[in-house]
């Protein structure tokens, strides 16, 4: 398409610029000590800036990508310091060699704290990280047999010649920074990284697409702690003397947060940029400020924070990036109605049934069974002792008036809410006590009534994010290229959205977002898909296409449970319809029966329903075999004629 041809070169050139922008400062950092080997004071300041950069980049993994802000992150630096100090005192191990052990010590503490507080969502994490910082300082002060208490510990004198001064520290921190950046970059490229951003954007939705949020957050927190711990050992060596108040200072944590906020939280390079700005500002305040700079520093940080919040709420890098995009706008894409309506076909990835079909008590034909589920909101009983069963391979419709508890039932089945009573079985396994992601790993996928995409992520990242299973291999698979990304592109082109792959999902229109959400669900290789109003807000022609897609997938073995108010659509699509009213099923049967059921007419359709036969969904050809029928391509001439 001509639009693509126009956009492609712009993108490529901009990518080239980006590599250049990164390469120049990095080579400058490497070359600096070679060119100016005797700038001793400058080397010290640069080493401290690199140290802050390491901390900010590692902070960014949990607090930038996953959005869980740690306000006491220097606790891990302190733990690294003390591990190196204790090891070198007891065993004579060089602090540089003790650095990995410092990282491990930090990970152990992070794991202990994280496994408690990261089970839940919300602000508890922020409080706990601050508490952790203070608690560790108290321990370091009072465990005198290990840490020598408030008297502090001395570290060995550096073994190298005086001529080198701070150079080895500079090199050490630069190396650790490179490794940390490499790790951070790798995280961004895997499904693990996509999952972390998903947690930041919408944790409930992330869980629904199979992201084990507890595990993800803990891993991110541990990784984040590790690199700070490693750097801490080098820091202790550089200082030569450590004590509890110095090693576990809250101001050091504030600097880490400030660095990441200034540079751009959640970006790869932002924390590095911010760290240099903050460290140089800090040094200037110390050097030129009165009173040893102590008060001056706090003032500078405070003013900097206010300025960032006011003028750079997203940080420097994102602000520059959006300014760049504004200067270099890309062409807007519109739904190619003709292409979107053309018939496509996709091979569904199927998983084997997890339960044996020999079980005769429930019969192998029932895939989903809800028994006596009840959910109350205060005095309101949204789902009232409801029973529902969905046959394997069927497309079951769930209709009912607004407020009859359909969406709540979906939430109970997928794990977004926990039922007050009742049981839910999927493929002969009881799932009502499982976390949402485990239900997803069993092959349960859903879409939402009001779409819940990760609006800041690209469309492609949105579709790559879901995880069909709990294996590490899946989690660490690349989200950028390889079979996962290929599959996502395949699904997007099936739904006519491949041109939008690199657009932020939030920029898509409502109906397009519905389709992206369907692609997300398909990425989970589901056996049962719960669709919450798939046709709502979708263009009528696309509704017909949606029906085709559902039928195509259904023929390949995916079972559907569909909530929808477009009755002709439901009656045409489904082979079994359940009518909900006041939190329970009041009628069920084939579409023909439902159409004429008096109770349904009364509760839902209204008596004048029969007078308005809408043929909206009947435009969908019923294909009886596997070869999809081709609806004639709509007149493309009309689309072209308007330009």
């Amino acid at each position: 398409m001509s639009v693509d041809a126009a956009v492609a070169p712009i993108r490529r050139r901009w990518l080239g610029n980006r590599q250049l922008v990164v390469a120049i400062p990095l080579s400058a950092l490497v070359l600096y000590p070679v060119i100016r080997p005797y700038d001793v004071y400058e080397h010290l300041v640069m080493s401290l800036a690199l140290l802050l950069a390491i901390q900010a980049v590692s902070w960014n993994i949990i607090s930038g990508y996953a959005g869980y802000v740690s306000l006491g992150h220097s606790v891990f630096l302190g733990l690294g310091c003390y591990t190196a100090g204790i090891l070198s005192e007891r065993t004579g191990l060089n602090p540089f060699l003790a650095a990995p052990v410092g990282g491990v010590a930090a990970v152990v503490v992070a794991l202990l704290a994280g496994s408690v507080v990261l089970r839940t969502r919300g602000h508890a994490f922020v409080i706990i990280t601050i508490a952790l910082l203070f608690a560790t300082e108290v321990v370091a002060t009072n465990w005198t047999s290990l840490t020598n208490g408030s008297n502090g510990m001395w570290l060995p004198i550096p073994f190298w010649s005086n001529d080198f001064q701070y150079l080895p520290f500079y090199v050490f921190f630069l190396l650790v920074l490179f490794v940390t950046l490499g790790f951070s970059a790798a995280v961004r490229r895997t499904k693990f990284g996509t999952g972390l951003v998903a947690i930041r954007e919408d944790e409930g939705k992330a869980a629904a697409i199979g992201v084990n949020t507890t595990r993800y957050k803990n891993l991110a927190f541990c990784a984040s702690a590790f690199f700070s711990g490693v750097a801490g050992a080098g820091y202790a060596y550089l200082l030569g003397y450590i004590n509890p108040t110095g090693s576990f200072a809250i101001l050091a944590s504030v600097m880490v947060v400030l660095a990441a906020l200034i540079g751009g939280r959640g970006t790869l390079w932002g924390p590095v940029l911010g760290a240099f700005i903050v460290e140089f500002g800090n040094e200037a305040a110390t050097r030129y400020g009165s009173n040893g700079g102590a008060n001056g520093r706090v003032l500078v940080f405070g003013v900097a924070l206010v300025l960032v919040v006011l003028f750079l709420p997203a940080g420097l890098l994102p602000t520059v990036a959006s300014w760049w995009r504004r200067r270099h706008p890309t062409a807007v894409r519109y739904t190619d109605q003709a292409a979107a309506l053309s018939d496509g076909h996709i091979e569904v990835r199927m998983r084997a049934s997890s339960a044996s079909t020999a079980d005769t008590t429930r019969g192998p034909t029932t895939l989903l069974e809800v028994r006596g589920a009840t959910k109350r909101f205060g005095g309101l009983v949204a789902v009232d002792n409801a029973d529902l069963s969905v046959a394997r391979g069927s497309t079951t419709g769930l209709i009912g008036p607004n407020g009859s508890g359909k969406t709540t039932l979906f939430n109970l089945v997928t794990g977004g809410m926990r039922a007050d009573a009742g049981e839910i079985w999927l493929d002969q396994r009881r799932i009502d006590r499982m976390p949402p992601w485990s239900r997803g790993h069993l092959g349960l996928g859903r879409t939402f009534q009001v779409t819940r995409l990760f609006r800041g992520m690209t469309v492609l990242a949105n579709v790559v994010a879901p995880l069909p299973d709990a294996r590490w291999r899946t989690m660490l698979a690349s989200a950028v290229r390889g079979h996962e990304a290929d599959r996502a592109r395949e699904l997007l082109s099936y739904l006519g959205l491949v041109d939008f792959a690199d657009e932020p999902a939030g920029s898509l229109s409502y109906g397009q977002q519905k389709l992206v959400e369907l692609a997300q669900v398909l990425m989970m290789e589901p056996r049962l898909i719960l669709l919450d109003e798939p046709a709502g807000g979708v263009n009528p022609s696309m509704v017909a296409r949606m029906g085709q897609i559902i039928k195509d997938l259904n023929q390949q073995g995916i079972t559907f449970l569909v909530v929808e108010h477009n009755i002709p659509f439901v009656l045409d699509l489904c082979d079994h319809v359940v009518v909900f009213s006041r939190g329970r099923a009041i009628a069920q049967g084939t579409p023909a029966i439902i159409r004429n059921d008096a109770a349904v007419l009364d509760a839902y359709l209204g008596e004048d329903w029969a007078a308005s036969p809408e043929p909206a969904a009947r435009a969908v050809p019923r294909s009886g075999d596997n070869s999809p029928q081709h609806t004639g391509a709509p007149p493309v001439a009309f689309l072209a004629g308007g330009d």
């Binding site: 519109y334 407020g403 409502y510 709502g536 807000g537 009528p540 108010h565």
Partner: protein
């Protein structure tokens, strides 16, 4: 009453979503905008209500140029906007939510009370559930409350972005009735609808948008009958089923 001439607009760093939109709503009419997903229909409403500053073109309401002025100023002129996504405050009660709709006239308690009573009469659900938290309402019920809320300022033009979204058949009829009622009471209505049959069914004028421009406008009846339009955007609902085979 409302006129858009050559309006060009886009989001953030993106290109122009609207590429010269010409549109008008005569006083007392119900105008329904239809078109494929992503054609820029909702963007038109955002430009009118001041949520998005147009990059070019003119928007006039009752002779006042309103292109690019602040949303609250547009509200004061009597233009109310009910956006597509659910926008109730979930932890407030239904009554509080509706009263928030009268935020601009909050000083005049008597007026506020009178308007609330009128709205509750018009939308019975609001009266029935006024003490419930909005978060406990179902999707369709929230829709009704949102529409009720936008009436608190006594608007002369209301813009509804997909009022049918998530409504059951009876709810749909209730909303259709509500819109007709408001229109009869003198309010001009601008709809964006994907449920074309519903939208054009209650509208007096239809507008077809595609790729950021208005393709066609005219009496709703005519739009429904237009053969190409029907095939491409209306799912063949109006005239005949989409050409098959």
């Amino acid at each position: 009453m409302l006129t858009l001439t050559g309006v060009v607009a886009g989001y953030g760093g993106g290109g122009n979503v609207l590429q010269g939109v010409d549109l008008s709503c005569p006083a007392g009419s119900i105008t329904c905008v239809v078109g494929p997903n992503g054609a820029g229909k909702s963007t038109v409403l955002r430009v009118i209500s001041g949520l998005l500053r147009p990059r070019g073109g003119a928007v006039t309401f009752d002779g006042h140029p309103i292109g690019g002025i602040a949303p609250d100023a547009v509200l004061r002129l009597g233009v109310a906007h009910v956006p597509q996504s659910h926008a109730l405050f979930p932890s407030m009660t239904v009554r509080e939510n509706v009263l928030m709709g009268g935020f601009l006239v909050r000083r005049d308690r008597a007026l506020l009370r009178r308007r609330y009573q009128a709205v509750a009469d018009l939308v019975p659900l609001i009266g029935q559930r006024q003490g419930d938290r909005a978060g406990n309402l179902s999707g369709g019920q929230r829709r009704m409350v949102e529409i009720g809320r936008c009436l608190m300022l006594g608007p002369r033009l209301i813009m509804l972005d997909e009022p049918s979204l998530g409504l059951d058949p009876q709810g749909l009829r209730a909303v259709a009735g509500l819109i007709r009622q408001l229109n009869q009471d003198g309010t001009t209505v601008l709809l964006v609808e994907q449920n074309v049959r519903f939208g054009l069914g209650i509208a007096s004028r239809g507008v077809v948008m595609d790729s950021g421009v208005v393709r066609l406008d005219g009496p709703a009846e005519e739009i429904m009958r237009h053969p190409e339009i029907a095939t491409l955007y209306l799912g063949g609902t109006a005239s005949k089923p989409a050409a098959a085979g």
